[in-house]
Amino acid sequence: MNPDSTAIPAAVPARPPVVRIRGVDKTFPVRGGAPTVALQGIELDITRGEFISLIGPSGCGKSTLLRVIGDLITPDAGSVEVNGKSARAARTDRDYGMVFQAPVLFDWRTVEANVALPLELMNVPASERARRVTEMLDLVELSGFQRHYPHQLSGGMQQRASIARALAFEPTILLMDEPFGALDEMTRERLNAEVLRVWARTGTTIVFVTHSIPEAVFLSTRVVVMSPRPGRIADVIDIDLPQPRTDDSRESDRYFELVTAVRESLRGHPTGSGARTRAEGGIG
């Protein structure tokens, strides 16, 4: 193991965790086959203001873990605590913002009405709603498109609208499930920069599921590497690139070292070259 691993507790700030996952298991029954063990023995703490990426091959349970955190899936065993309460209580308190791979905008609502939807459900008065929608559309650079319908926007713009919607009610945690997976590389890099900007401005804790190693390294403060069958956390890699991240971050030597470390870890060699690593959870 990396000798640096002993230094980890000092690196994690002594703030109470926003998300505290202990011993989470989840198994899905398969009709006429062996059940799929989607998650096994998951242990993870996420601190306020962190940007955590969950990365791993298909079927490693990263999307399931995201949904367990958001109380969209109930685990078979273990506990999930969010902001000091159960995941269910956190959901009913509207602590979560969700962004999916598809924008999931409602095509009968204008952009502004889509962004206002969670506020409507929370009975926010109309004037306050209008103010927040304007602010959010400004944040994701969609001002001027309030009255457009989703089908009149490009894929990247639709996804930005869905980010604005997720942030509109100021949730403490933003859960993003491969939000840029369906976009082309250029749009994806631009939206990465945009998410970082939003993150810096709002201070929201972000849990981000991705397939892309460069994306995970560029965005995150920590990358959680998962392995499939059964889905478990294979490795947690601290990303110590300086903040704020810019286009230059993508060209630094440290960036390439970290990309290599994540890649090695995904291949099953969790001893990142130069990266501080710490195995968490799993059967160990």
């Binding site: 949904r67 958001g70 969209l72 959901r91 009913t92 308190d93 509207r94 979560y96 913002g97 969700m98 999916f100 598809a102 999931v104 409602f106 095509d107 009968w108 204008t110 939807l117 969670p118 409507e120 459900l121 929370m122 650079e141 001027g144 498109f145 457009h148 319908y149 989703p150 089908h151 009149q152 926007l153 490009s154 894929g155 990247g156 713009m157 859960l175 250029m186 749009t187 631009r190 920069a193 900007r197 810019t246 286009d247």
Partner: protein, 344 residues
């Protein structure tokens, strides 16, 4: 952050917007929103053309096309009708013009008793409905059509309401769906002719039983389409609502119901014509004296002496159905005007 980024982004997204949507009018609007210079958008001739295309594709244009389509169909059907008679019907005689035509073939189906000339049907419409009557056949039939139309519209309302309520129940309760959907399907296998007399026994003669029969024919397509439509939202949309801790009622009102509208309107169009058929069928056993159904029965009995009268009644009945259909289509075009093109 470089100052060049927003600029390059807008051009990029403009391009993808144009790629994603072939509607020219929209691309222009998009470009204007981005503050592109006018000459980089399109020439004025192009925008003129695109405006025409845009108008043609607009909901109003679609309705216009529907009406033109129906008119064209009627014209062609009329030509085929008369061509058939020209080839195999009774001899054509117009003494006023000194014209006579002997069709080369003789077919019973093309004779004047089976298939009157369209102009004979037309002139029957302006002649008195009965000897010495004040009212012309046309006036009489329009009055009858109105009676039937009101019955059909009430049946349509009741039927669609029942259909939507049943679908709402089935979508929210699996046991209810398992228990009752087979009966909903079975209900449509019972011939309405057999059901009507039983119904009169129960509900009594009069408007209520006609409305019931019209509703009976309309609720089924609405139930099936509404079930499909209420279940049409993306599972992620439902997850999203769950993450907002939204109530079932909110999910229904804000997601399921709006998502089901395109499906519902498809069923409403079927239901509109079915309700007219239901009202016409129901009138005879229910004893409605002045509707199209009774007119059909009466003129059927007088067919040998005046086949044009029955044919005129059939034409008016068809028109009543088409009018109802067009009305639903008009409402659809308005309600769904902002939906994704092609969603209708």
């Amino acid at each position: 952050m470089s100052s060049q980024r927003p600029e390059s982004e807008s051009t990029f997204e403009l391009q993808s917007a144009i790629d994603a949507d072939s509607s020219g009018a929209y691309a222009v609007e998009q470009a204007l929103a981005y503050g592109e210079s006018a000459d980089s958008i399109a020439t004025s001739a192009d925008t003129g053309m695109e405006a025409v295309v845009g108008a043609w594709r607009s909901p109003g244009g679609q309705l216009l096309r529907t009406i033109l389509g129906i008119a064209l169909f009627l014209l062609v059907a009329g030509l085929v009708w008369e061509a058939f008679k020209w080839l195999a019907g009774d001899p054509w005689r117009f003494p006023a013009f000194g014209y006579e035509h002997r069709p080369p073939f003789r077919l019973m189906q093309a004779q004047d008793l089976q298939l009157p000339h369209l102009w004979d049907i037309g002139s029957a419409l302006i002649e008195p409905v009965q000897r010495n009557a004040d009212q012309s056949l046309g006036q009489f039939l329009i009055g009858a059509a109105f009676v039937t139309w009101v019955e059909a519209a009430l049946g349509f309302l009741v039927g669609t309401l029942v259909g939507i309520l049943l679908a709402t129940l089935f979508v929210h309760s699996l046991p209810a769906e398992r228990a009752f959907v087979p009966y909903v399907i079975a209900s449509q296998t019972i011939p309405i002719i057999a059901l009507a007399p039983l119904l009169i026994e129960g509900v009594g003669r009069g408007l209520a039983s006609v409305v019931f029969i019209a509703a009976y024919l309309t609720f089924f397509p609405v139930t099936i389409a509404a079930m499909r439509g209420l279940r049409s939202p993306d599972p992620r949309a439902l997850e999203l609502m769950r993450s907002y801790a939204a109530s079932r009622w909110s999910v229904y009102r804000k997601v399921r119901l709006p998502a089901s509208l395109p499906y519902l309107f498809t069923a409403f169009k079927i239901a509109a014509t079915a309700s007219v058929v239901g009202a016409i069928i129901g009138e005879d056993p229910a004893g409605t004296a002045n509707g199209l159904g009774r007119a059909i029965v009466n003129f059927n009995q007088q067919y040998v002496t005046g086949p044009e009268k029955l044919w005129a009644t059939i034409l008016v009945a068809g028109m009543a159905g088409i009018l109802f259909y067009l009305l639903v289509r008009l409402v659809e075009a308005f309600v769904l005007r902002n939906r994704r093109p092609g969603a209708m």
